[in-house]
């Protein structure tokens, strides 16, 4: 009797307590893969665009030609991000589903104004994930959604794959919401975010280019760095798997791969006041392409290339460091390392750190090992010119 009672009870449980209370079927969801935020023409308002993928039952076989139609862009103008989702949910037949969002894209204007207010939502909301990537786009962010990407389903998936690929080599290209907020909260440290530009040229199928980094002082973008400074930044930051540089010298042209860049920073104090910073950059370099240099023997060539690359690194790094000193933003975490290791000293420096950073003397100390010349031992010289 008792057993039957329990059995009936369990059966009833499985009927009524199956947890389908908040069932959300996939055909009622709009799966968001990217969000773009721009300043609106209206003062105090923002244009929020979301891009998603069209979910349709799989038909099997090869994908048909209507792949391009798979992207859907929704757009609204509101005061805040949450408000935008509220609006879109009200005016669109499906519910926005944020768990699979890959990227948050900010227009340059928004970044120059105040990035913090937009991030609050992403931190607070249980639906958003902290490892969502962040990036800045020159001009307007919603331009990205108009791009025509051939290989991927939509532009944000393209961008996400792109960033994943390049960040395998240089990890500083990948800044997530969590990273950025942690950097904002960290003392003695300013953040950078990769900046992209939409390619307006119709001739090729490269829809977007990475142009460098946007430099932030707290929550405001104050400058952007490109080419040379970007390389210098990567060298000075260290902890990089691979990057490269082509150097043109008097004797010819040489392309290097820089592998396993490690940077050590040593701060020299005088009366508990930092006056100088010694930066050691350890690099394993390999020669990838070499034109000219015919007049050198193999031994001399090695020495010469070594000199060239050392000098280049000193130039690039010093120039970049000076540039950041002019901007008065410590993106290298020098203040942070003082805070972490000498919290007492830091208490006196904290308020005036930007100026102290600007007045630091810098000494760059490259340690380059050229380990690889590729498949050939001699100088490529088919013409036989000696």
């Amino acid at each position: 009797m008792k057993k039957i009672f329990i059995l009936v009870f369990l059966l009833l449980c499985s009927l009524f307590l199956v947890g389908c209370w908040d069932a959300r079927e996939i055909n009622t969801l709009f799966i968001v893969t990217g969000i773009a935020i721009d300043k609106s023409e209206q003062e105090g308002f923002f244009d929020v665009s979301v891009i998603g993928i069209k979910t349709s039952p799989s038909r099997g076989g090869s994908q048909s030609s209507d792949d391009k139609d798979k992207k859907i862009v929704l757009k609204t103008t509101t005061r805040s991000i949450r408000d935008a989702f509220f609006h879109l949910n009200l005016n669109y037949d499906r519910t926005l589903y944020l768990q699979h969002n890959q990227i948050v894209i900010f227009g340059e204007d928004v970044a120059k104004d105040d990035l913090h207010r937009h991030l609050e939502f992403f931190v607070r909301s249980e639906n958003s994930r902290m490892e969502t990537l962040m990036l800045i786009v020159e001009g307007r962010a919603d331009e990205v959604f108009k791009m025509d990407v051939k290989q991927e389903q939509n532009s944000t998936i393209y961008l996400f794959t792109h960033i994943q690929t390049i960040s395998r080599r240089v990890k500083h290209y990948k800044i997530s919401v969590l990273n950025f907020i942690a950097n904002l909260l960290t003392e003695g440290f300013h953040s950078v975010i990769p900046i992209f530009a939409v390619n307006k040229n119709d001739d090729d199928d490269m829809p977007i280019n990475m142009t460098g980094f946007a430099v932030f002082r707290n929550n405001k973008m104050i400058a952007k760095i490109t080419d040379l400074e970007a390389l210098g930044f990567v060298l000075l930051k260290g902890d990089v798997k691979n990057t490269n540089r082509t150097i043109i010298s008097y004797d010819g042209m040489v392309s290097f791969d820089f592998d396993d860049i490690k940077t050590k920073k040593e701060i020299i104090y005088k009366d508990n006041y930092p006056i100088k910073i010694k930066i050691t950059i350890e690099i394993t370099a390999s020669v990838e392409e070499l034109l000219g240099f015919e007049k050198y023997s193999i031994q001399d060539l090695n020495r010469e290339l070594h000199n060239i690359v050392q000098q280049e690194i000193i130039n690039v790094a010093t120039q970049t460091f000076k540039y950041f000193q002019e901007l008065k933003v410590d993106v290298f975490g020098i203040g942070l390392s003082i805070y972490q290791h000498h919290p007492k000293k830091w208490n006196n420096l904290r308020n005036d750190w930007d100026n102290i950073f600007a007045s630091l003397e810098v000494e760059i100390n490259p340690k380059v090992v050229i380990k690889d010349y590729g498949q050939i031992v001699s100088i490529y010289n088919p013409g036989g010119v000696k």
């Binding site: 908040d22 902290m130 969590l178």
Partner: protein
């Protein structure tokens, strides 16, 4: 008279203690916004300060073999005063059971079932734990060993998976906060995961172990639990950095960051599953203790018949007497530890002292 009929082994007792601490450890939000990146230091200090209490509990267990806390209180203070004090303990046990139920439902709600009504979650939790409690202590603790290994495995696995985002620098600086913060942090930790071990004083008479083993298992259990607590805090701080103090469940955010290529990602469900298992275990121990206390106060011979009604009270009270989580945390950080520690550490110490001074012992082996 002991109520529970079955006896468990010393090892099971130890694993239960580990489980018990791991359940609270995995949450670790109570101190995160007080001591920030130095919380790992606070965990070490708090445990060192707690060690004497472990031996105090051990001494109390050994001195009153075959008697649980309530019986000890009644023996020392007499039937009337003893019962009044026991009622205070009953309220205390009811409260911590209630708070743990609230924690469990909160995390289930935020992470998995956001729109499921509160009462359904609470009821399921109560029914399952009631079932376990009715089956007795042996059934309750039999899986503790498995849970401990599972939880430890997942903690270690998460550290390996998060290795590429761990920044050791986040653990520094040390000793940069005002002294008061450390005191508060240590106080809270002594009250909330560690001090709650006082409930094992009610289970101890049902454990088969000699005097030496009592100390050994109690100490080992507490230290292994504390070590896994330390590991979780270490992992969360080194992964989250300055944002550690911001989140309600730092570990959940840390788990969400796991991404080993595209294959191993979004495995926070592992964390939630282990958390639910551990919390259910903890709640059932607390629930069991509450029920034992009730039946001891009223001198009942069997506790089974009151399990569900106590559960009914817990279920409704957990819903009505829980405000939002911020208030809850604030109160838990600022007020509760004072009362908790009094009941958890100071009062048992007084008991031990009185029994030593007046040489009160449990009567030698009554004829059964």
């Amino acid at each position: 008279m002991t109520i529970a009929e079955t006896k468990i082994s010393g090892r099971q007792f130890m694993y239960s203690i580990i489980c018990f601490i791991q359940a609270s450890a995995i949450l670790n939000a109570f101190i995160s916004n007080i001591t920030y990146q130095e919380s790992w230091l606070v965990v070490i200090f708090a445990f060192i300060i707690f060690i004497p209490s472990v031996f105090m509990y051990g001494a109390l267990i050994n001195r009153f073999k075959d008697k649980n806390l309530i019986q000890i209180i009644i023996q020392i203070f007499g039937p009337v005063l003893g019962r009044i004090i026991s009622v205070i303990y009953l309220i205390f046990f009811l409260s911590i059971t209630m708070f743990n139920i609230t924690d469990l439902t909160d995390i289930t709600k935020t992470s998995m079932l956001p729109t499921t009504p509160y009462i359904i979650l609470v009821m399921m939790c109560i029914l399952i734990t009631a079932w376990a409690v009715r089956s007795g202590l042996r059934v309750l603790t039999i899986y503790s060993k498995m849970y401990v290994f599972l939880a430890s495995f997942i903690i270690i696995l998460s550290i390996i998976f998060l290795f590429n985002v761990i920044e050791i620098g986040n653990l520094f600086p040390i000793f940069s906060l005002p002294l008061k913060k450390y005191v508060q942090g240590i106080h809270i930790l002594n009250a909330i995961p560690f001090g709650e071990l006082v409930v094992f004083l009610l289970i101890a008479p049902n454990v088969q172990m000699n005097k030496k083993q009592t100390y050994k298992y109690f100490f080992l259990g507490a230290s292994i639990g504390a070590f896994s607590f330390f590991l979780t805090v270490l992992r969360d701080i080194s992964v989250l950095g300055e944002t550690f103090g911001m989140f309600v469940f730092p570990s959940l955010v840390a788990f969400r960051l796991i991404r080993i290529t595209e294959a191993i990602t979004r495995i926070e469900i592992l964390f939630i599953v282990i958390l639910i298992i551990l919390l259910i275990f903890k709640i059932s121990i607390l629930y069991y203790v509450t029920v034992i206390t009730v039946s001891q106060i009223f001198n009942l011979k069997k506790y089974k018949n009151i399990v569900l009604s106590v559960g009914f009270f817990l279920m409704t009270a957990a819903i009505v007497l829980s405000a939002n989580s911020i208030q809850h945390t604030l109160a838990a950080q600022n007020g509760a530890p004072f009362i908790w520690v009094t009941l958890q550490i100071i009062f048992p110490f007084i008991l031990l002292l009185i029994s030593l001074i007046f040489n009160i012992k449990s009567p030698k082996e009554e004829s059964k």
